[in-house]
């Protein structure tokens, strides 16, 4: 059906008088409607979440607003309307594909599997999949978890990662699933699980909000590194070029340092918690050489 529509649109474009500017795709949609719709998450702290006034804020949204500014200049629509649409990890890709949102500003891993469905902007964060444990426990490496129970959040990329680690290292861990990060962390806090395996930045967010943040630590080990990026529709070269240019400029100019510091090493809304997550060498490298390589 999609191909059918695309064919019709292409035919209409080719058949009609050639437009002065060949926009097509997302940029044309934005120009025609005078609106850009950003998809945001509700609890992906500090990337994309709701503050105490239920307004979407976050690191990813700040970067997406740079893209919106570039769109305004490019299309010469200074009063471009920005609509914000909440999305979840389950519906973010379908909503992008069916045109409900034009750009997804959340905490989405840029993976090769997803690149078959969507395109990604430049990597704006690199996480390590690691484990949060209690300081009081005897677990110092992921291998120490042999024979223990670990929690993780269902539907995340951590699930197949643990399974392949088990197979490769011959360790045997028992996974239990929380339906969101808060529940998975609760399993660790209640000693039902010896570790919570997840993206390190999300673990840092859970720990910062825990009753006793000093009780927990994140293991220095990494199961895998994953780049985070904004998602846009696949096969839309002009919009992709604009996204790369806008975000790349922020990274090259060093403006990114300020934006990064605002969200990762300073107190953030709603509770004024500081994540204390200074830039890692890998992230610094991603800013120096903007790229959209997936894992």
């Amino acid at each position: 059906m999609r191909r059918f529509i695309t064919t019709i649109i292409t035919a209409a474009l080719l058949g009609g008088p050639v437009a002065a500017q060949d926009l097509g795709g997302t940029l044309k949609k934005i120009k025609d409607t005078g609106t850009i719709t950003l998809g945001h998450r509700e609890s992906s702290i500090p990337f994309s979440y709701l503050d105490d006034k239920q307004q979407p804020i976050g690191y990813a949204l700040d970067l997406c607003m740079k893209i919106v500014d570039a769109v305004k200049t490019e299309l010469k629509i200074p009063n471009l309307k920005v609509t914000l649409q909440p999305v979840t990890s389950s519906n973010r890709i379908p909503l992008l594909q069916n045109g409900t949102i034009d750009l997804e500003c959340g905490s989405t891993t840029n993976s090769v599997a997803r690149q078959e469905q969507v395109s990604f902007g430049p990597t704006y964060f690199v996480i390590n999949v690691s484990a949060a444990v209690k300081k009081s426990s005897s677990v110092n490496t992921i291998a120490d978890l042999d024979g223990k129970t670990v929690s993780t959040t269902s539907g995340t990329t951590s699930v197949p990662l643990i399974k392949s680690y088990e197979k490769a290292k011959g360790v045997d861990v028992k996974e239990i699933y929380g339906k969101d990060h808060a529940e998975s962390f609760l399993l660790l806090a209640d000693d039902r699980a010896a570790a919570f395996i997840m993206d390190d930045i999300l673990l840092a967010g859970q720990i910062a909000n825990a009753r006793n943040p000093a009780d927990y630590r994140i293991l220095p080990e990494s199961l895998r590194q994953e780049p985070y990026s904004m998602m846009l529709r696949k096969g839309d070269a002009p919009f992709k070029a604009l996204v790369d240019r806008a975000v790349g400029a922020v990274m090259k100019s060093g403006e990114i340092e300020k934006i990064y510091a605002k969200w990762f090493t300073a107190p953030i809304a709603p509770k004024g918690v500081n994540l204390n997550f200074p830039m890692t060498p890998v992230i610094r490298d991603a800013f120096k050489n903007p790229n959209d390589k997936g894992v």
Binding site: P94, A113, D190, R192
Partner: protein, 241 residues
């Protein structure tokens, strides 16, 4: 819609997506069966308690029904899985010795068992109260005790009357097992979501789950209809045909 997805391997798992859904279905059926047994036994006891002449027993039964009927099922799952072990130290000690999967299974059965039993209790009560008063009095008149009157006079008829609403209850229970995904039990709905989130083939995954839920609910419906016909008393209400 391409069906080949069901024959593809689950990344770093064992078997194909089709087998993953089938293993989820096994958990769904196991939870539904055991929760139904628990709900039927408990529901009958509470239902009977609410029709006896003991005032305190009636009150106790009423409270039980209102408690479990008025809390959303999703909240009840959270309470049984996270709050109960957190509040009662001896339960927490016991829970940590359990295999996590067993713990999820027990929680799901207990939670659905209590929830459904409250609804069955309400039906058993209404079934007994729908019988003519004379039946109870006739029982007492021929010298039966209260227990015997229930066993030989009231319950045999009451159960026959409430088979249709019990059928709906069984079908509801089967569908309610899907909420067990929230405590991480890897039942059918959990596997469906997992398949959607890992392959982005939501349409195929949920189409398959829809079909499976319809088939098992309909099968439960047919089994209950068969029972209804088998136990029908000729010439008496719905059973006659």
């Amino acid at each position: 819609m391409k069906l080949d997805i069901f024959l593809q391997q689950v990344p770093d798992g064992d078997g194909t997506w089709w087998q993953s859904l089938a293993s989820g279905l096994q958990w769904t059926l196991l939870v539904a069966l055991l929760a139904w047994i628990m709900a039927f036994a408990l529901g009958s006891l509470v239902g009977v308690a609410r029709t006896t002449d003991k005032r305190w027993l009636t009150r106790l039964g009423d409270t039980y029904v209102e408690l479990f009927r008025n809390i959303p099922l999703l909240v009840q799952f959270f309470l049984w899985y996270f709050v109960v072990p957190g509040l009662i130290p001896s339960v927490k000690v016991w829970v940590t010795t359990l295999d996590p999967t067993q713990h999820q299974l027990v929680t799901a059965i207990v939670c659905l068992g209590f929830f459904t039993s409250a609804r069955i209790a309400e039906q058993v009560r209404s079934g007994i109260q729908s019988l003519a008063r004379g039946q109870r009095n006739a029982g007492y008149a021929v010298g039966l005790t209260q227990v015997q009157t229930y066993r030989f006079v009231l319950l045999p008829m009451a159960y026959r009357i409430i088979i249709p609403p019990l059928t709906s209850e069984l079908m509801n229970l089967i569908k309610n097992t899907a909420v067990a995904y929230s405590i991480g039990l890897t039942e059918l709905f959990f596997r469906t979501r997992e398949m959607g989130e890992m392959t982005f083939r939501y349409f195929e995954a949920f189409a398959a789950a829809t079909l499976i839920y319809i088939v098992i609910s309909m099968a439960a419906n047919r089994v209950m209809a068969f029972i209804e016909r088998r136990v029908a008393v000729p010439g008496y209400i719905a059973g006659s045909h």
